[in-house]
Symmetry: C2
Subunit: 301 residues, 2 copies
Protein backbone atom coordinates (compact mmCIF):
# COMPACT_ATOMS: atom_id res chain seq x y z
CA UNK A 1 0.00 0.00 0.00
CA UNK A 2 1.22 3.52 -0.80
CA UNK A 3 2.34 5.72 2.06
CA UNK A 4 0.10 8.58 3.14
CA UNK A 5 1.59 12.00 2.46
CA UNK A 6 -1.22 13.73 4.33
CA UNK A 7 -4.65 13.00 5.82
CA UNK A 8 -8.09 14.25 4.74
CA UNK A 9 -10.73 14.24 7.50
CA UNK A 10 -14.51 14.70 7.39
CA UNK A 11 -15.64 15.23 10.99
CA UNK A 12 -19.43 15.22 11.05
CA UNK A 13 -22.06 15.35 13.76
CA UNK A 14 -22.37 11.56 14.09
CA UNK A 15 -19.24 10.12 12.50
CA UNK A 16 -15.66 10.93 11.60
CA UNK A 17 -13.89 9.58 8.52
CA UNK A 18 -10.24 9.93 7.54
CA UNK A 19 -8.46 9.14 4.29
CA UNK A 20 -4.71 8.83 3.92
CA UNK A 21 -3.75 10.51 0.65
CA UNK A 22 -0.60 9.33 -1.18
CA UNK A 23 1.79 11.61 -3.07
CA UNK A 24 0.12 10.61 -6.36
CA UNK A 25 -3.32 11.56 -5.01
CA UNK A 26 -4.43 7.96 -4.50
CA UNK A 27 -5.88 6.65 -1.24
CA UNK A 28 -3.36 5.06 1.13
CA UNK A 29 -6.03 4.18 3.70
CA UNK A 30 -9.60 4.94 4.74
CA UNK A 31 -10.75 4.71 8.35
CA UNK A 32 -13.74 5.87 10.36
CA UNK A 33 -15.42 5.85 13.76
CA UNK A 34 -18.77 6.83 15.25
CA UNK A 35 -17.13 9.66 17.18
CA UNK A 36 -18.75 12.69 15.63
CA UNK A 37 -19.01 16.10 17.27
CA UNK A 38 -22.29 15.19 18.93
CA UNK A 39 -20.75 12.26 20.75
CA UNK A 40 -17.43 13.55 22.10
CA UNK A 41 -16.18 16.48 24.18
CA UNK A 42 -13.72 19.16 23.15
CA UNK A 43 -10.85 17.48 24.98
CA UNK A 44 -11.40 14.15 23.23
CA UNK A 45 -10.43 15.22 19.71
CA UNK A 46 -6.64 14.65 19.95
CA UNK A 47 -7.09 11.10 21.28
CA UNK A 48 -9.77 10.22 18.71
CA UNK A 49 -7.54 11.47 15.89
CA UNK A 50 -4.57 9.56 17.27
CA UNK A 51 -6.64 6.39 17.53
CA UNK A 52 -7.77 6.77 13.94
CA UNK A 53 -4.52 7.59 12.15
CA UNK A 54 -1.66 7.40 14.69
CA UNK A 55 -0.31 4.06 13.52
CA UNK A 56 -1.06 4.71 9.84
CA UNK A 57 1.21 7.65 9.10
CA UNK A 58 4.96 8.13 9.31
CA UNK A 59 6.65 11.40 10.19
CA UNK A 60 4.89 14.75 10.31
CA UNK A 61 1.78 15.13 8.12
CA UNK A 62 -0.84 17.71 7.22
CA UNK A 63 -4.32 16.87 8.50
CA UNK A 64 -7.02 18.90 6.76
CA UNK A 65 -10.40 18.70 8.45
CA UNK A 66 -13.84 19.83 7.34
CA UNK A 67 -17.22 19.68 9.07
CA UNK A 68 -18.47 19.96 12.62
CA UNK A 69 -15.06 19.80 14.29
CA UNK A 70 -15.04 23.53 13.45
CA UNK A 71 -18.41 24.23 15.07
CA UNK A 72 -18.74 26.17 18.31
CA UNK A 73 -19.31 22.87 20.15
CA UNK A 74 -16.48 21.16 18.24
CA UNK A 75 -12.71 21.03 18.62
CA UNK A 76 -12.04 24.69 17.85
CA UNK A 77 -14.47 27.12 16.28
CA UNK A 78 -13.59 28.01 12.70
CA UNK A 79 -15.69 31.16 12.25
CA UNK A 80 -18.13 31.14 9.34
CA UNK A 81 -16.93 32.54 6.02
CA UNK A 82 -19.65 34.91 4.84
CA UNK A 83 -21.27 34.89 1.39
CA UNK A 84 -20.24 35.74 -1.25
CA UNK A 85 -17.59 33.23 -0.15
CA UNK A 86 -14.66 32.52 -2.49
CA UNK A 87 -14.17 28.77 -2.23
CA UNK A 88 -10.54 29.17 -3.26
CA UNK A 89 -9.86 30.97 0.01
CA UNK A 90 -11.12 28.25 2.35
CA UNK A 91 -7.68 27.23 3.62
CA UNK A 92 -6.69 30.80 4.43
CA UNK A 93 -9.58 30.91 6.89
CA UNK A 94 -8.81 27.59 8.56
CA UNK A 95 -7.94 27.40 12.25
CA UNK A 96 -5.25 25.27 13.94
CA UNK A 97 -6.36 23.63 17.18
CA UNK A 98 -3.95 22.84 20.01
CA UNK A 99 -3.42 19.53 21.72
CA UNK A 100 -2.95 17.25 18.74
CA UNK A 101 0.02 14.90 18.51
CA UNK A 102 3.03 16.94 17.39
CA UNK A 103 3.24 14.85 14.20
CA UNK A 104 -0.12 16.22 12.99
CA UNK A 105 -0.37 19.70 11.47
CA UNK A 106 -4.13 20.04 11.89
CA UNK A 107 -6.14 22.69 10.09
CA UNK A 108 -9.93 22.92 10.36
CA UNK A 109 -11.74 24.55 7.43
CA UNK A 110 -14.51 27.11 8.09
CA UNK A 111 -18.19 26.74 7.36
CA UNK A 112 -20.06 29.33 5.30
CA UNK A 113 -22.86 31.63 6.45
CA UNK A 114 -25.33 34.00 4.88
CA UNK A 115 -26.27 36.96 7.06
CA UNK A 116 -28.81 38.93 5.01
CA UNK A 117 -31.76 39.58 7.34
CA UNK A 118 -34.50 37.06 6.65
CA UNK A 119 -32.11 34.81 4.75
CA UNK A 120 -29.81 33.70 7.56
CA UNK A 121 -28.33 30.32 6.79
CA UNK A 122 -25.33 28.17 7.69
CA UNK A 123 -23.38 25.21 6.33
CA UNK A 124 -20.40 23.21 7.62
CA UNK A 125 -18.87 20.54 5.41
CA UNK A 126 -20.89 21.23 2.27
CA UNK A 127 -18.58 24.13 1.31
CA UNK A 128 -15.76 21.56 1.05
CA UNK A 129 -17.87 19.32 -1.19
CA UNK A 130 -18.58 22.35 -3.38
CA UNK A 131 -14.89 23.11 -3.62
CA UNK A 132 -14.55 19.45 -4.64
CA UNK A 133 -17.17 20.03 -7.34
CA UNK A 134 -15.03 22.88 -8.68
CA UNK A 135 -12.02 20.55 -8.64
CA UNK A 136 -13.86 17.80 -10.50
CA UNK A 137 -15.71 20.15 -12.86
CA UNK A 138 -13.42 23.16 -13.28
CA UNK A 139 -15.29 26.36 -14.02
CA UNK A 140 -18.66 25.03 -12.84
CA UNK A 141 -21.31 27.74 -12.52
CA UNK A 142 -24.93 27.32 -11.54
CA UNK A 143 -26.94 25.68 -8.79
CA UNK A 144 -25.88 22.54 -6.96
CA UNK A 145 -28.13 20.55 -4.65
CA UNK A 146 -26.76 18.60 -1.69
CA UNK A 147 -29.71 16.48 -0.51
CA UNK A 148 -29.82 15.18 3.04
CA UNK A 149 -30.95 15.86 6.59
CA UNK A 150 -30.67 19.56 5.85
CA UNK A 151 -30.56 19.78 2.04
CA UNK A 152 -28.56 22.66 0.62
CA UNK A 153 -29.32 24.60 -2.56
CA UNK A 154 -26.22 26.56 -3.50
CA UNK A 155 -25.63 29.00 -6.32
CA UNK A 156 -22.01 29.22 -7.44
CA UNK A 157 -20.68 32.00 -9.68
CA UNK A 158 -17.03 32.71 -10.38
CA UNK A 159 -15.86 30.20 -7.80
CA UNK A 160 -17.94 31.84 -5.08
CA UNK A 161 -20.96 30.74 -3.10
CA UNK A 162 -23.23 33.68 -3.86
CA UNK A 163 -26.34 32.43 -2.06
CA UNK A 164 -27.73 29.28 -0.51
CA UNK A 165 -30.83 27.85 1.13
CA UNK A 166 -31.18 24.91 3.52
CA UNK A 167 -34.35 22.78 3.52
CA UNK A 168 -35.08 20.44 6.42
CA UNK A 169 -36.31 17.70 4.11
CA UNK A 170 -34.49 14.73 5.63
CA UNK A 171 -35.12 15.76 9.21
CA UNK A 172 -38.81 16.45 8.52
CA UNK A 173 -39.11 12.89 7.23
CA UNK A 174 -37.50 11.55 10.40
CA UNK A 175 -39.50 13.51 12.96
CA UNK A 176 -42.82 13.09 11.14
CA UNK A 177 -42.46 9.36 10.60
CA UNK A 178 -41.29 8.74 14.16
CA UNK A 179 -43.03 11.30 16.34
CA UNK A 180 -46.19 12.57 14.63
CA UNK A 181 -49.61 11.01 14.05
CA UNK A 182 -48.19 9.72 10.74
CA UNK A 183 -46.27 7.05 12.67
CA UNK A 184 -49.54 5.07 12.73
CA UNK A 185 -49.48 5.05 8.92
CA UNK A 186 -45.90 3.76 8.95
CA UNK A 187 -46.61 0.79 11.19
CA UNK A 188 -46.54 -2.54 9.40
CA UNK A 189 -44.49 -4.21 6.73
CA UNK A 190 -42.77 -2.07 4.16
CA UNK A 191 -42.58 -4.77 1.51
CA UNK A 192 -41.84 -2.33 -1.23
CA UNK A 193 -44.68 -3.10 -3.59
CA UNK A 194 -46.25 0.34 -3.31
CA UNK A 195 -43.22 2.47 -2.41
CA UNK A 196 -42.65 3.63 -5.99
CA UNK A 197 -46.33 4.51 -6.47
CA UNK A 198 -46.25 6.48 -3.20
CA UNK A 199 -43.10 8.35 -4.25
CA UNK A 200 -44.64 9.26 -7.61
CA UNK A 201 -47.89 10.48 -6.02
CA UNK A 202 -46.09 12.48 -3.33
CA UNK A 203 -43.61 13.98 -5.76
CA UNK A 204 -46.37 15.13 -8.11
CA UNK A 205 -48.25 16.73 -5.22
CA UNK A 206 -45.19 18.48 -3.78
CA UNK A 207 -43.99 19.79 -7.14
CA UNK A 208 -47.47 21.09 -8.01
CA UNK A 209 -48.33 22.72 -4.67
CA UNK A 210 -45.26 23.27 -2.49
CA UNK A 211 -47.13 26.08 -0.74
CA UNK A 212 -49.49 23.49 0.74
CA UNK A 213 -46.80 21.30 2.29
CA UNK A 214 -48.23 21.34 5.83
CA UNK A 215 -51.60 20.22 4.43
CA UNK A 216 -50.25 17.66 1.97
CA UNK A 217 -48.33 15.98 4.79
CA UNK A 218 -51.65 15.18 6.46
CA UNK A 219 -52.85 13.48 3.26
CA UNK A 220 -50.41 10.68 4.10
CA UNK A 221 -52.58 9.89 7.11
CA UNK A 222 -55.91 10.46 5.37
CA UNK A 223 -54.97 8.21 2.45
CA UNK A 224 -54.05 5.51 4.94
CA UNK A 225 -57.40 5.81 6.69
CA UNK A 226 -59.63 6.23 3.63
CA UNK A 227 -57.94 4.27 0.86
CA UNK A 228 -56.25 1.58 2.92
CA UNK A 229 -52.79 2.74 1.85
CA UNK A 230 -50.13 0.71 3.67
CA UNK A 231 -46.82 1.61 5.26
CA UNK A 232 -44.93 1.24 1.98
CA UNK A 233 -47.11 3.67 0.02
CA UNK A 234 -47.22 6.12 2.94
CA UNK A 235 -43.44 6.15 3.44
CA UNK A 236 -42.94 6.61 -0.30
CA UNK A 237 -45.55 9.37 -0.42
CA UNK A 238 -43.99 11.35 2.42
CA UNK A 239 -40.47 11.18 1.00
CA UNK A 240 -41.67 12.02 -2.52
CA UNK A 241 -43.77 14.88 -1.15
CA UNK A 242 -40.95 16.43 0.88
CA UNK A 243 -38.49 16.21 -2.02
CA UNK A 244 -41.09 17.49 -4.48
CA UNK A 245 -41.99 20.44 -2.25
CA UNK A 246 -38.32 21.29 -1.70
CA UNK A 247 -37.72 21.38 -5.45
CA UNK A 248 -41.05 23.02 -6.25
CA UNK A 249 -40.37 25.77 -3.72
CA UNK A 250 -36.90 26.48 -5.13
CA UNK A 251 -37.98 26.27 -8.75
CA UNK A 252 -36.89 29.80 -9.56
CA UNK A 253 -33.32 28.89 -8.55
CA UNK A 254 -33.02 26.49 -11.48
CA UNK A 255 -31.42 27.65 -14.71
CA UNK A 256 -30.58 25.88 -17.94
CA UNK A 257 -27.44 24.19 -16.53
CA UNK A 258 -27.55 20.52 -15.48
CA UNK A 259 -27.69 20.33 -11.68
CA UNK A 260 -25.05 18.40 -9.71
CA UNK A 261 -26.64 16.25 -7.00
CA UNK A 262 -24.02 15.70 -4.31
CA UNK A 263 -25.07 12.97 -1.92
CA UNK A 264 -25.94 9.29 -1.64
CA UNK A 265 -27.02 7.27 -4.67
CA UNK A 266 -30.51 6.91 -3.21
CA UNK A 267 -30.98 10.67 -2.86
CA UNK A 268 -29.46 11.34 -6.27
CA UNK A 269 -32.05 9.02 -7.85
CA UNK A 270 -34.93 10.58 -5.93
CA UNK A 271 -33.95 14.18 -6.69
CA UNK A 272 -32.93 13.35 -10.25
CA UNK A 273 -36.36 11.83 -10.90
CA UNK A 274 -38.14 14.87 -9.47
CA UNK A 275 -35.99 17.30 -11.47
CA UNK A 276 -36.60 15.31 -14.67
CA UNK A 277 -40.35 15.69 -14.07
CA UNK A 278 -39.97 19.45 -14.46
CA UNK A 279 -37.55 19.15 -17.37
CA UNK A 280 -34.30 19.81 -15.50
CA UNK A 281 -31.20 17.69 -16.15
CA UNK A 282 -28.96 16.58 -13.32
CA UNK A 283 -25.93 14.43 -12.62
CA UNK A 284 -24.85 12.58 -9.48
CA UNK A 285 -21.65 13.12 -7.55
CA UNK A 286 -20.89 10.85 -4.59
CA UNK A 287 -20.68 12.80 -1.34
CA UNK A 288 -17.45 11.15 -0.13
CA UNK A 289 -15.79 11.65 -3.52
CA UNK A 290 -16.72 15.34 -3.42
CA UNK A 291 -15.46 15.71 0.15
CA UNK A 292 -12.09 14.12 -0.63
CA UNK A 293 -11.74 16.19 -3.80
CA UNK A 294 -12.54 19.33 -1.81
CA UNK A 295 -10.02 18.58 0.93
CA UNK A 296 -7.39 17.99 -1.78
CA UNK A 297 -8.22 21.32 -3.40
CA UNK A 298 -8.12 23.07 -0.03
CA UNK A 299 -4.71 21.62 0.89
CA UNK A 300 -3.33 22.77 -2.46
CA UNK A 301 -4.44 26.36 -1.85
CA UNK B 1 -78.92 24.15 39.72
CA UNK B 2 -81.26 23.28 36.85
CA UNK B 3 -81.80 19.63 36.04
CA UNK B 4 -80.14 18.18 32.93
CA UNK B 5 -82.61 17.15 30.25
CA UNK B 6 -79.86 15.54 28.17
CA UNK B 7 -76.06 15.37 27.98
CA UNK B 8 -73.70 16.74 25.33
CA UNK B 9 -70.32 14.95 25.09
CA UNK B 10 -67.09 15.84 23.29
CA UNK B 11 -64.93 12.71 23.34
CA UNK B 12 -61.51 13.64 22.02
CA UNK B 13 -58.21 11.83 21.65
CA UNK B 14 -56.85 13.00 25.01
CA UNK B 15 -59.84 14.15 27.02
CA UNK B 16 -63.59 13.74 27.36
CA UNK B 17 -65.92 16.54 28.39
CA UNK B 18 -69.65 16.37 29.15
CA UNK B 19 -72.21 19.10 29.67
CA UNK B 20 -75.63 18.59 31.18
CA UNK B 21 -78.11 20.68 29.19
CA UNK B 22 -81.28 21.93 30.90
CA UNK B 23 -84.68 22.20 29.23
CA UNK B 24 -84.12 25.94 28.65
CA UNK B 25 -80.78 25.24 26.92
CA UNK B 26 -78.67 26.38 29.87
CA UNK B 27 -75.88 24.31 31.38
CA UNK B 28 -76.89 22.13 34.32
CA UNK B 29 -73.32 20.85 34.82
CA UNK B 30 -69.95 20.54 33.11
CA UNK B 31 -67.55 17.69 33.85
CA UNK B 32 -64.43 16.24 32.26
CA UNK B 33 -61.70 13.61 32.55
CA UNK B 34 -58.42 12.77 30.86
CA UNK B 35 -59.94 9.60 29.44
CA UNK B 36 -59.83 10.29 25.72
CA UNK B 37 -59.87 7.65 23.00
CA UNK B 38 -56.10 7.32 23.07
CA UNK B 39 -56.07 6.37 26.74
CA UNK B 40 -58.89 3.85 27.14
CA UNK B 41 -60.03 0.60 25.50
CA UNK B 42 -63.30 -0.07 23.72
CA UNK B 43 -64.77 -1.83 26.76
CA UNK B 44 -64.05 1.09 29.08
CA UNK B 45 -66.46 3.59 27.53
CA UNK B 46 -69.63 2.64 29.49
CA UNK B 47 -67.82 2.86 32.84
CA UNK B 48 -66.13 6.16 31.99
CA UNK B 49 -69.45 7.66 30.94
CA UNK B 50 -71.14 6.38 34.10
CA UNK B 51 -68.36 7.81 36.25
CA UNK B 52 -68.74 11.18 34.55
CA UNK B 53 -72.50 11.65 34.53
CA UNK B 54 -74.09 8.71 36.40
CA UNK B 55 -74.86 10.66 39.54
CA UNK B 56 -75.69 13.88 37.74
CA UNK B 57 -78.75 12.90 35.73
CA UNK B 58 -82.17 11.57 36.75
CA UNK B 59 -84.22 9.17 34.65
CA UNK B 60 -83.46 8.28 31.05
CA UNK B 61 -81.57 10.88 29.02
CA UNK B 62 -80.21 11.42 25.52
CA UNK B 63 -76.41 11.46 25.35
CA UNK B 64 -75.14 12.97 22.10
CA UNK B 65 -71.44 12.39 21.48
CA UNK B 66 -69.04 13.85 18.93
CA UNK B 67 -65.37 13.21 18.30
CA UNK B 68 -63.03 10.26 18.52
CA UNK B 69 -65.45 7.95 20.34
CA UNK B 70 -66.71 7.34 16.78
CA UNK B 71 -63.30 6.47 15.37
CA UNK B 72 -62.33 2.95 14.36
CA UNK B 73 -60.31 2.65 17.58
CA UNK B 74 -63.09 4.28 19.66
CA UNK B 75 -66.31 3.02 21.23
CA UNK B 76 -68.13 2.20 18.00
CA UNK B 77 -67.13 3.34 14.54
CA UNK B 78 -69.45 6.00 13.13
CA UNK B 79 -68.54 5.79 9.42
CA UNK B 80 -67.39 9.01 7.79
CA UNK B 81 -70.03 11.16 6.09
CA UNK B 82 -68.63 12.05 2.67
CA UNK B 83 -68.41 15.56 1.21
CA UNK B 84 -70.51 17.35 0.13
CA UNK B 85 -71.84 16.60 3.62
CA UNK B 86 -75.11 18.21 4.70
CA UNK B 87 -74.52 19.22 8.31
CA UNK B 88 -78.25 19.07 8.99
CA UNK B 89 -78.14 15.32 8.50
CA UNK B 90 -75.45 14.54 11.07
CA UNK B 91 -77.81 12.91 13.57
CA UNK B 92 -79.34 10.62 10.95
CA UNK B 93 -75.90 9.11 10.45
CA UNK B 94 -75.13 8.64 14.14
CA UNK B 95 -74.51 5.17 15.60
CA UNK B 96 -75.76 3.76 18.91
CA UNK B 97 -73.19 1.75 20.84
CA UNK B 98 -74.12 -1.09 23.17
CA UNK B 99 -73.13 -1.56 26.78
CA UNK B 100 -74.02 1.84 28.20
CA UNK B 101 -76.17 2.14 31.32
CA UNK B 102 -79.80 1.63 30.29
CA UNK B 103 -80.60 5.20 31.39
CA UNK B 104 -78.36 6.63 28.63
CA UNK B 105 -79.61 6.77 25.02
CA UNK B 106 -76.17 7.24 23.47
CA UNK B 107 -75.69 8.39 19.89
CA UNK B 108 -72.26 9.04 18.37
CA UNK B 109 -72.11 11.52 15.49
CA UNK B 110 -70.06 10.67 12.38
CA UNK B 111 -66.91 12.41 11.18
CA UNK B 112 -66.65 13.79 7.65
CA UNK B 113 -64.33 12.62 4.88
CA UNK B 114 -63.28 13.80 1.44
CA UNK B 115 -62.41 11.02 -0.98
CA UNK B 116 -61.37 12.79 -4.19
CA UNK B 117 -58.07 11.23 -5.26
CA UNK B 118 -55.20 13.45 -4.17
CA UNK B 119 -57.46 15.35 -1.77
CA UNK B 120 -58.23 12.66 0.79
CA UNK B 121 -58.96 14.19 4.14
CA UNK B 122 -60.77 13.41 7.39
CA UNK B 123 -62.25 15.20 10.40
CA UNK B 124 -63.92 14.04 13.61
CA UNK B 125 -65.39 16.60 15.96
CA UNK B 126 -64.91 19.67 13.79
CA UNK B 127 -68.08 18.87 11.79
CA UNK B 128 -70.03 19.32 15.04
CA UNK B 129 -68.38 22.69 15.68
CA UNK B 130 -69.32 23.73 12.15
CA UNK B 131 -72.91 22.71 12.75
CA UNK B 132 -72.63 24.88 15.87
CA UNK B 133 -71.41 27.75 13.71
CA UNK B 134 -74.55 27.37 11.57
CA UNK B 135 -76.63 27.42 14.77
CA UNK B 136 -74.93 30.56 16.08
CA UNK B 137 -74.72 32.27 12.66
CA UNK B 138 -77.72 30.97 10.71
CA UNK B 139 -77.14 30.95 6.98
CA UNK B 140 -73.35 31.23 7.25
CA UNK B 141 -71.56 30.64 3.94
CA UNK B 142 -67.84 30.85 3.28
CA UNK B 143 -64.65 29.48 4.73
CA UNK B 144 -64.12 28.71 8.41
CA UNK B 145 -60.74 27.95 9.98
CA UNK B 146 -60.39 25.66 12.99
CA UNK B 147 -56.78 26.15 14.14
CA UNK B 148 -55.07 23.47 16.18
CA UNK B 149 -52.95 20.33 16.09
CA UNK B 150 -54.44 19.57 12.68
CA UNK B 151 -55.95 22.86 11.53
CA UNK B 152 -59.00 22.58 9.30
CA UNK B 153 -59.98 24.90 6.46
CA UNK B 154 -63.59 24.25 5.58
CA UNK B 155 -65.78 25.73 2.89
CA UNK B 156 -69.48 25.71 3.70
CA UNK B 157 -72.20 26.37 1.11
CA UNK B 158 -75.91 25.81 1.61
CA UNK B 159 -75.36 24.12 4.98
CA UNK B 160 -72.96 21.61 3.46
CA UNK B 161 -69.25 21.02 3.85
CA UNK B 162 -68.26 21.21 0.19
CA UNK B 163 -64.48 20.85 0.66
CA UNK B 164 -61.87 20.95 3.39
CA UNK B 165 -58.12 20.81 3.97
CA UNK B 166 -56.20 19.83 7.10
CA UNK B 167 -52.80 21.42 7.85
CA UNK B 168 -50.50 19.86 10.44
CA UNK B 169 -49.52 23.25 11.85
CA UNK B 170 -49.83 22.50 15.56
CA UNK B 171 -48.24 19.08 15.35
CA UNK B 172 -45.36 20.40 13.21
CA UNK B 173 -44.64 22.91 15.94
CA UNK B 174 -44.61 20.17 18.56
CA UNK B 175 -42.39 17.67 16.74
CA UNK B 176 -39.96 20.31 15.45
CA UNK B 177 -39.52 22.06 18.78
CA UNK B 178 -39.12 18.80 20.69
CA UNK B 179 -37.44 16.36 18.33
CA UNK B 180 -35.55 18.24 15.59
CA UNK B 181 -32.29 20.22 15.60
CA UNK B 182 -34.43 23.28 16.42
CA UNK B 183 -34.77 22.03 19.99
CA UNK B 184 -31.32 23.53 20.61
CA UNK B 185 -32.72 26.93 19.66
CA UNK B 186 -35.60 26.47 22.11
CA UNK B 187 -33.40 25.72 25.11
CA UNK B 188 -33.25 28.51 27.64
CA UNK B 189 -35.65 30.98 29.18
CA UNK B 190 -38.65 32.05 27.20
CA UNK B 191 -39.09 35.36 29.01
CA UNK B 192 -41.38 36.73 26.39
CA UNK B 193 -39.48 39.86 25.45
CA UNK B 194 -38.84 38.76 21.87
CA UNK B 195 -41.77 36.41 21.29
CA UNK B 196 -43.87 39.03 19.52
CA UNK B 197 -40.98 40.09 17.28
CA UNK B 198 -40.38 36.43 16.39
CA UNK B 199 -44.05 35.88 15.59
CA UNK B 200 -44.12 38.94 13.34
CA UNK B 201 -40.96 37.91 11.47
CA UNK B 202 -42.11 34.31 11.03
CA UNK B 203 -45.58 35.32 9.95
CA UNK B 204 -44.26 37.71 7.32
CA UNK B 205 -41.93 35.01 5.95
CA UNK B 206 -44.62 32.30 5.87
CA UNK B 207 -47.25 34.52 4.25
CA UNK B 208 -44.79 35.72 1.60
CA UNK B 209 -43.22 32.36 0.70
CA UNK B 210 -45.32 29.43 1.90
CA UNK B 211 -43.73 27.30 -0.85
CA UNK B 212 -40.41 27.54 1.01
CA UNK B 213 -41.71 26.25 4.34
CA UNK B 214 -39.16 23.44 4.72
CA UNK B 215 -36.36 25.98 4.12
CA UNK B 216 -37.81 28.76 6.27
CA UNK B 217 -38.08 26.35 9.21
CA UNK B 218 -34.28 26.02 9.16
CA UNK B 219 -33.95 29.79 9.42
CA UNK B 220 -35.10 29.44 13.03
CA UNK B 221 -31.86 27.60 13.73
CA UNK B 222 -29.66 29.81 11.56
CA UNK B 223 -30.98 33.00 13.16
CA UNK B 224 -30.21 31.52 16.56
CA UNK B 225 -26.64 30.71 15.52
CA UNK B 226 -25.86 33.86 13.54
CA UNK B 227 -27.87 36.61 15.20
CA UNK B 228 -27.96 35.30 18.75
CA UNK B 229 -31.73 34.97 18.69
CA UNK B 230 -32.93 33.39 21.94
CA UNK B 231 -35.55 30.79 22.75
CA UNK B 232 -38.34 33.36 22.91
CA UNK B 233 -37.72 34.80 19.43
CA UNK B 234 -37.19 31.32 17.96
CA UNK B 235 -40.40 29.89 19.43
CA UNK B 236 -42.32 32.94 18.22
CA UNK B 237 -40.73 32.72 14.77
CA UNK B 238 -41.61 29.04 14.32
CA UNK B 239 -45.23 29.47 15.36
CA UNK B 240 -45.66 32.63 13.26
CA UNK B 241 -44.00 30.90 10.30
CA UNK B 242 -46.19 27.79 10.47
CA UNK B 243 -49.39 29.83 10.80
CA UNK B 244 -48.28 32.24 8.07
CA UNK B 245 -47.42 29.41 5.67
CA UNK B 246 -50.73 27.65 6.39
CA UNK B 247 -52.65 30.82 5.55
CA UNK B 248 -50.38 31.78 2.66
CA UNK B 249 -50.79 28.34 1.10
CA UNK B 250 -54.59 28.44 1.37
CA UNK B 251 -54.87 32.05 0.22
CA UNK B 252 -57.07 31.21 -2.76
CA UNK B 253 -59.66 29.72 -0.40
CA UNK B 254 -60.36 33.14 1.09
CA UNK B 255 -63.24 35.21 -0.20
CA UNK B 256 -64.72 38.54 0.85
CA UNK B 257 -66.59 37.09 3.87
CA UNK B 258 -65.15 37.52 7.38
CA UNK B 259 -63.61 34.22 8.49
CA UNK B 260 -64.78 32.48 11.69
CA UNK B 261 -61.82 31.24 13.75
CA UNK B 262 -63.06 28.36 15.88
CA UNK B 263 -60.55 27.49 18.59
CA UNK B 264 -58.72 28.81 21.61
CA UNK B 265 -58.34 32.54 22.25
CA UNK B 266 -54.57 32.24 21.67
CA UNK B 267 -55.01 30.69 18.24
CA UNK B 268 -57.77 33.12 17.32
CA UNK B 269 -55.42 36.04 18.04
CA UNK B 270 -52.55 34.48 16.09
CA UNK B 271 -54.63 33.60 13.03
CA UNK B 272 -56.63 36.83 13.22
CA UNK B 273 -53.39 38.84 13.16
CA UNK B 274 -52.06 36.90 10.17
CA UNK B 275 -55.33 37.26 8.25
CA UNK B 276 -55.43 41.00 8.97
CA UNK B 277 -51.94 41.29 7.43
CA UNK B 278 -53.41 40.17 4.10
CA UNK B 279 -56.54 42.25 4.49
CA UNK B 280 -58.94 39.51 5.57
CA UNK B 281 -61.39 40.08 8.41
CA UNK B 282 -62.11 37.38 10.96
CA UNK B 283 -64.01 36.76 14.17
CA UNK B 284 -63.36 34.36 17.03
CA UNK B 285 -65.68 31.60 18.21
CA UNK B 286 -64.70 29.60 21.29
CA UNK B 287 -64.23 25.92 20.47
CA UNK B 288 -66.25 24.62 23.43
CA UNK B 289 -69.10 27.04 22.69
CA UNK B 290 -69.18 25.85 19.08
CA UNK B 291 -69.12 22.19 20.14
CA UNK B 292 -72.00 22.61 22.58
CA UNK B 293 -74.01 24.60 20.03
CA UNK B 294 -73.37 21.89 17.44
CA UNK B 295 -74.45 19.07 19.76
CA UNK B 296 -77.64 21.03 20.53
CA UNK B 297 -78.34 21.48 16.82
CA UNK B 298 -77.67 17.81 16.19
CA UNK B 299 -80.00 16.63 18.95
CA UNK B 300 -82.78 18.85 17.56
CA UNK B 301 -82.48 17.29 14.09
Amino acid sequence: MAEAEWVAVDWGTSNVRAWGIAADGGQAFAVGADKGMGKIGRADYPAVLDELIGDKVAGTVDVVVCGMAGARQGWLEAPYFETPADLHQLLSRAVSPEGADARFRVRILPGVCQRQAGYEDVMRGEETQLLGLLGLRPGFEGVAILPGTHSKWVEIRGGRIVRFSSAMTGELYEVLSQHSVLRHSFAGDVDGAEIEAGIADGMAAGLAQPELLSALIFRTRAAGLLSGKGADWCSGYLSGLLVGAEIGGHRDWLGPEPVPLIGSARFATLYGTALARIGVQSFALDAADATIAGLKEARAQ
